[in-house]
Amino acid sequence: MAESTGIAGLEDDFQGGKQRSLWVDAMERLIRNRAAMVGLFISVLLVITALIGPYIAPHDYIKTNIANIAATPNATNWFGTDLIGRDIFSRILHSVRTAIFVVVVVITISTILGIILGAAAAYLGKWVDDGIMRLTDIILAFPDLLLVAFISLTIRQPFVNWLGTVYQQTQWEILRDTLFLDYLIVFGALALVSWPGYARLIRGQILSLREQDFIRAQVALGVPDRTIMFRHLVPNSIAPVIVSMSIGIGGIILLESSLSFLGFGIQPPGASWGSMVTENLFEWRTHPHLVLMPGLTLALAVIGFNFLGDGLNDALNPRQIRR
């Protein structure tokens, strides 16, 4: 019989015609998700505030004013002042920077650590895999807050001593900045408890992808390992990592503020939402705004990131992954 005569204009009825990319699809799903858009708005606002906040702050965030303590919100001090007369709004603007800074650094460190160790476990297998997985077991066995608090409690002193010696040799002024030190300790402790999640995720992804037919076919065809890794495994693992990062942000902010709440985080006069709540926790009856203002901002920030994370999760994994 003759071949298809190809009647004009009918070809685009074929299903294969418009394959839309995963990312365009995901983007569309995300944009239609109202909660995620609100989350995105809050997140962007926070990042901008982190960048310019300290410059637009109406008052000095450390300057005390004994004449004006515990003022309720008013025209000059929009969110009121705290027990030693510092402007709460300005302090909150600064703590946004603290929070975002911690989030960015910790997420970056723990994702990189997680990707390297997870990929190593999946690729090298055998005792490397066993070792890394047991390590994640052990770290995940601790209640995270306890471990973070414990680590920052114990490493602070040795760390200060060590930096002292480094300072004597290098004379770098920054090493004597206690705020800088706080940051380093908080980063380290938080990253240490955060990486196992990413490592397990990456390992699981690579192992399950390797079992899939399209990867097996490539291996059978003799495509080099490195090409498979970068052309297929990495791109296919990115979506779950992004989801897990965005879901992790809220958790890190919570953990950092809990740490400050317990007194092991960014120390005063540095500003962190957690420490602002703690300083005033037992004032809730007499000066509720001291707790409400930083508490509500903290809540709003975490809600924003969590909505965004949840939206990304829905958008990138229509079939859902488990953490």
Binding site: M1, A2, S4, T5, G6, I7, L10, E11, D13, F14, Q15, G16, G17
Partner: protein, 332 residues
């Protein structure tokens, strides 16, 4: 002619997706008489499963549903009934078995109770009776040592055995109609043959009507009395098995027949394949949906959609340019 057991008219089912409304069942009509077996054939994606699920009232609500037409089962229109009325007719009037026996049974529940609970729901019998009847059924569908097997989990059964369990479930309340959606596709050829024999036997024994969905014309030849060929959500040819094999009218049907693998190829597990792709059911154009792939389209094919036209006794096809009969096969 007596009242058919199942009589479908202009059945229309819509699924809602982001690309728009999909019409997997687009004006389907057919009858099944008592004791008769109708084979439904067509490529995958042609709407066979959706037709079966529409009859059963099992289209997931979040996906879509039946939007038009009638489904007369034993004289009652299921399309007009409430959910619970339809539910009560499942198992008792119509039973269904599915394509994938590996996933069609609850993996965390013993096999026996999965059969027994059906009877307890519909027949109002007590636990002991249900258990005894289940063991009888297991025996009837050919499960060895049914008493012991009653308490096994699905993973302890082979694929063919699981499909037999599915049949036991479907037959447990003695339905008038059995709908089978490619039940043998996932099985290997010997098991498939055994199962077909068994179904034929039990069908005779009970005088049951069967709607057998398959994309394997060989199975149709073995098992069915009549055939309906589906393409893009519509039936394009309807006839007796003999007519379809000897005198296909629709060019899609003859394409299917030409692509039928030989016995040797079938034992090697090859599936049929034909050139081109089925159309996108979300936006069907005017005219015949098969026109692009057709070997002999005429102008009318792109302009007007063909309806089922009579092509002989009990034989109809939806084609503007049907296959002419060859000399050996009768009149011009």
């Amino acid at each position: 002619m007596p009242e058919p057991v199942l009589s479908i008219r202009a059945l229309e089912t819509h699924l809602y997706s982001r690309e728009g409304t999909i019409r997997p069942v687009n004006g389907v009509s057919f009858d099944i008489q008592q004791g008769e077996t109708l084979g439904i054939v067509g490529e995958s994606g042609s709407g066979k499963t959706m037709t079966a699920l529409s009859i059963m009232g099992l289209i997931p609500k979040n996906l879509g549903g039946v939007v038009g037409g009638s489904v007369l089962l034993d004289g009652e229109d299921l399309a007009q009934m409430s959910d619970s009325e339809v539910r009560r007719r499942r198992s008792t009037k119509m039973g269904m078995i599915f394509q994938d026996p590996a996933t069609s049974l609850n993996p965390t529940m013993k096999v026996g109770p999965q059969i027994a609970e059906t009877m307890k729901t519909h027949l109002g019998i007590n636990d002991t009776t249900a258990r005894n009847r289940t063991i009888e059924l297991l025996d009837r569908v050919g499960i060895p040592s049914p008493e012991g097997r009653y308490n096994n989990y699905p993973f302890q059964f082979s694929g063919g055995m699981r499909q037999r369990v599915m049949i036991a479930i479907a037959l447990s309340c003695d339905p008038l109609l059995l709908i089978a959606d490619e039940p043998t596709t996932a099985l290997d050829v010997t098991i498939q043959a055994q199962l077909l024999d068994f179904v034929r036997e039990i069908k005779e024994e009970r005088g049951m009507s069967v709607m057998w969905i398959t994309h394997d014309l060989g199975v149709v030849a073995e098992l069915c009395d009549k055939v309906a060929v589906m393409y893009a959500g519509s039936i394009v040819e309807k006839a007796s098995v003999d007519d379809v094999f000897a005198r296909p009218k629709h060019r899609y049907t003859s394409m299917l027949l030409n692509s039928m693998p030989s016995i040797a190829e079938r034992t090697a597990g090859r599936l049929m394949s034909i050139k081109g792709l089925p159309p996108n059911l979300a936006n069907l154009r005017e005219g015949c949906p098969f026109a692009v792939r057709c070997s002999a389209p005429v102008d009318r094919c792109t302009e007007e959609r063909p309806t089922l036209l009579p092509m002989g006794t009990e034989h109809s096809a939806a084609c503007w340019n049907p296959v002419a009969e060859t000399a050996g096969n009768g009149k011009m």
